[in-house]
Amino acid sequence: MKGQKQENLRIRDPIHDLITFDLADSLDGLAWELINSREFQRLRRVKQLGFSDFVFPGATHTRFSHCLGAFSIARKLLKIIEKKQGATFDRSKAFVAGIAALLHDLGHGPFSHVFEGIQKELGRGRKHEEWTREMIEGDTEVHSILEGNNSGLANKVGLLLGRKDPADIYDALVSSQFDADRLDYLQRDRYMTGTNTGAFDYAWLLDCLEIGKINVGQEGGDFVEVDGLYLNHKGLAAAEGYLLARFHLYSQVYLHKTTRAAELMLASLLSRMIALVKEGHAEATGLHAGHPLLRFFEGDKSSLGSYLDLDDFQIWSAIAEMAAATDAQTRNLAIGLHDRKLHKCINIGEMARRAGGDSLVHFKRLLKENSEKLGANVLKDEVSLTAYGTHDYEDTGALQKVLIGLPDGSGKIEDIVSRSEIVGAIKRQRIFRVYFSDAAERESIEELWKEVIK
């Protein structure tokens, strides 16, 4: 590194203790340069869990610390892969994967999923992964550092992060059930929220990792074979703990009803702000002209520059300004968020589960038909939760499952769901909540439900 003494640098981390960087090592040296880039430093101002600190006050950790943790785990995973692969270990691919693990969340915006939803609503649906690629391959400090290290490296890292569908064992480091991202956030989010559920045996899990050829496709149909990670039979209990940890974090933390209330209110606030601007009433939002939030939503396409200007601080400053808006809907939502006076909800999904049959479908239809009458303050939260997280809509192939070797020495592997009664018992849950801001709205929602079950 230019002008810097070649030495070991250290970062103290609550999860991984010391994360050290040996500047004489090519991977560590480049990682350290990237950490000091403008775009990576921005992650210090983006909280990992958005509004979760409304429920868990300790959960104020940032994307910055999570990315450092993911990099630390990626190095450990690379060592495991190197040991298992021996002479076939590909140092060049390993290097790209290590850097990709460090940069995997670079494109996360403030309150990321709320922002993605709003952009989608506006027809410019760009997810954080796309912003990450643009930051890596666009006119940024990160790009200059990568290209300065090795021409074409930015493209390789961007592609690996864009791939999602793992093509080899190095991809598995950033996109698989045992990727560095998950292995870090499950531990970090648990620790920082202070929740005592969701622990798993990390060291044992890593020690049981194996590499093998995994078929992707359906029996009797077209399929491909790629290298992937699985666990040997001694890892069964650790794998159960790992999946239960994820399930509990989703149900107890990420999908907590109060956190979701704040997210829905912010989404509603931003929607209202955009509508007012479109109607030519920007002044009614309470935001001063030129606020970064207004700049981001200006025009047909948001620029990378305006995206980089956004962080949690900008959103909170916007909320404070909007709390004095002349538009009542904007003002009420902003005050609610600012003072943590959040909407309450009725858990219709749970009521429908008890009522059985098609009651949820009928309620959804009634809600849709009455949406105008119910008004803009009635907000809906719909999500499905499974043992693997919130998405189980596609036939997630073997590479997205936790696979376990059989103890009989046959070399065969199986989905943990068929090997573990505990994991197999976790059924898909459909969460459907309806949020309201006052007693009258609550009554109207209850009336709709009564109509369903009468």
């Binding site: 592609l159 093509a167 359906q218 098609d358 998405h391 596609e394 036939d395």
Partner: protein, 167 residues
């Protein structure tokens, strides 16, 4: 205008044998039909297997709860299950118009898709998704995004399907 769970039910009903093998296959079929003018109203994001809509998944589940579709899971490689949707009432009335397409057009397009594997449908849908998102050389990008799946043969098949569908 039909509700989305009805549209999904009609598509399953009109597909070969009144069933669709694989949630991924169902997703890609609806996506490609949308590209042909189905106007289902679904929005798509890029997921593991290319364009994906949570709304389609929810609608298929609604159709199951309404008794319009049957659903079962079969074990695939390593006992990883894949889903099979089947029409619950074989005599289900499919209207002459489904969304923005005529019933016979939907039948024709589904007939074209039936000879293709789920991976080829995934590649065709991904190509189409990238093309509509202004990526200049979508085929080259698909090769880079899905190097194991995008063999020259499969990619040629996927491109042929898109041409045959008029996309």
């Amino acid at each position: 205008m039909s509700e989305l769970h009805d549209i999904v039910t009609y598509i399953v009903a009109l597909n070969e044998g009144g069933k669709v093998v694989g949630k991924t296959r169902l997703q890609k079929m609806v996506f490609l039909l949308d590209q042909c003018g189905l106007e289902s109203g679904c929005s798509y994001d890029y997921h593991y297997y290319g364009p994906f809509s949570a709304e389609i998944a929810e609608a298929a589940e609604d159709a199951y709860h309404l008794g319009q579709l049957n659903y079962e899971e079969n074990p695939g490689f390593y006992s990883v299950p894949y889903g099979v949707y089947e029409i619950a009432r074989p005599s289900a009335n499919v209207p002459e118009t489904i969304g923005g397409l005529e019933r016979r057009t939907v039948e024709g397009k589904l007939n074209l898709m039936k000879g293709y594997s789920a991976i080829e449908l995934e590649l065709a849908a991904t190509l189409q998704y990238l093309q509509t998102h202004e990526f200049k050389d979508a085929a080259a990008l698909v090769k880079e995004l899905k190097p194991a799946k995008a063999t020259p043969e499969r990619l040629t098949h996927a491109q042929k399907l898109l041409r045959d569908l008029g996309l």
